[in-house]
Amino acid sequence: MPTYARRLFVLLVILFAIGLTVRTLAVPKGFGEFGHWRAGALAEEAARTPTLQGKKVCAQCHRAEFAAHELGPHVTVQCEDCHGSGAKHVASERGSGAKVAMFRHLKQANCLACHGQLLARPKLFPTIDVKQHFAEVGVKDPKTRCQECHNPHNPLFLDHPVAEARKHPLIHPCTDCHFDKSIRTRPMPPGHVVTFQCKDCHAAIVADFAQKAHASLDCTSCHPFRRESQFSGVILKTGNPKFCLMCHESHPFKTDAKIPLIVSLQGHLNDLGAPPEDMTKRCVDCHLQDAIHQTQGLSIVETPAEAAGAKGGSGAKP
């Protein structure tokens, strides 16, 4: 073999060896085993430890809060949505992690992140105009925090889980769909779905309610109605005295110009000299008849057909 060919051959071998070494060093182990990527990367990604724990983990220590939370409309909101990472909280409490702020939610803005009025929010989602709301319930200080009256874990103090709320036909007026107001005077066409207003079925109660102290309110102020579809919704069950106290409890930030206030339920019962067995009484046990509405005519109409009949034949016959 001539010298030049041998040199060329040696050079090529050296270059090949260098190339092979560089490739071996640069290409990680397992690369190309399942595609153009390093096989170990996927297991490494999966091995990270989750930080958010979910409400069931929080419930292991915070039982009372969890029980209240499961009844209320915030049941779909995770603890960590307001309180931050559970794992960081536990680490901080055990002294193995940095201190974390658990109560970043103690501001009006935090409630309004969901419940503030925005044009982009879905129409069925409950939103509030704070100014208007404070004017209605007589709150003087515009910076008053929502949880002064509402318990964030169960903001409406429901007694039964939202999921067990009573199904009810839609109680919105015809104008929900028909923007032309005159439609109300026309007979419904055959086969039209039956929609309701409260007075269509509960005429006596609505008439009586109009005479009583709460007449300026809507029925849905105390019987929270959540629309679930085009035709029906649910009535959430209240009755907890704390529900009444949301408006009637006395606070330094409130004025009693519009709403009669009491200091506390316990104090009120003491003042009346109520016996100890009455200490669990509900407001409506005494005040239903005089302040809210009569109880006659509470019978619930069973089917839409009966309801249509009860309306005096003005509705459709489904």
Binding site: A41, E45, T76, C114
Partner: protein, 274 residues
Amino acid sequence: MSEEEKKGGTLSLPEPSEKKPGGSLARRDLLKYSAAGLAGLVTLGKIDDLLAESYPTIGGSYHPDEHWWGFVVDLRKCIGCGACVRACKEENSVPDGFFRTWVERYTFLKDGRVLVDSPDGALEGFEPRADVKPEEVTKSFFVPKLCNHCEQSPCVQVCPVGASYQSPDGLVLIDKTHCIGCGYCVQACPYGCRYLNPVTGTADKCTMCYHRISKGLKTACVEACPHGARHYGDLKDPNSEVRRLLNTSRYGVLKPDLGTHPKCFYIGLDEEVV
């Protein structure tokens, strides 16, 4: 015909009839053996391929090959609270000013303008727009954004070192130990879903919380969503929540004309959303 004869003559190949039984390897046998050998090799190769395609089980019970993850966002339900953004930041230690998921607000005006805003990625939710009068607005809604985990992802295609890849379960992921931080993928993503993490110096993006879903947990954003706007699930499973939603709703994907085949589906999507 004559040419064939001529050819045969020149090469002086032995006639098949001249073959002696029990002699050296004949042409027919040679062909037979080579075909069998080839078939054997192909089969071996196939078996090898089949074995190689199955990713080993992760964490004892998770088989990547059995899943094909997808994401569904119900735009009709999003309330723009930003809980998903906060949860994602918390779960994945996303540095300030960067987002793996964020929420945009689209505002349509009577004069035909469409305004889009996302103050700090909606980390603290939204305030009413100060520059728009409510009576000027025709419609408005929120659009949560996250990695679309495209089937044909441009970001994976441009990675010069093979650090971006599509996992066997359909997710677009980054091998952080291998990424050189060149940023090509950040520019290649048509949806703006990638960023260069200033802490690690590598590209970073939504992993669809791979460390959670591979353990059977929900992704951080799905878990945090208080109004059921976000859903993730296995597109291979005919009974999964995402399959049910896709089977019963009208949906779209972002920028379908790019041919990226996103696996993030939007229910109630508007034409103007990009």
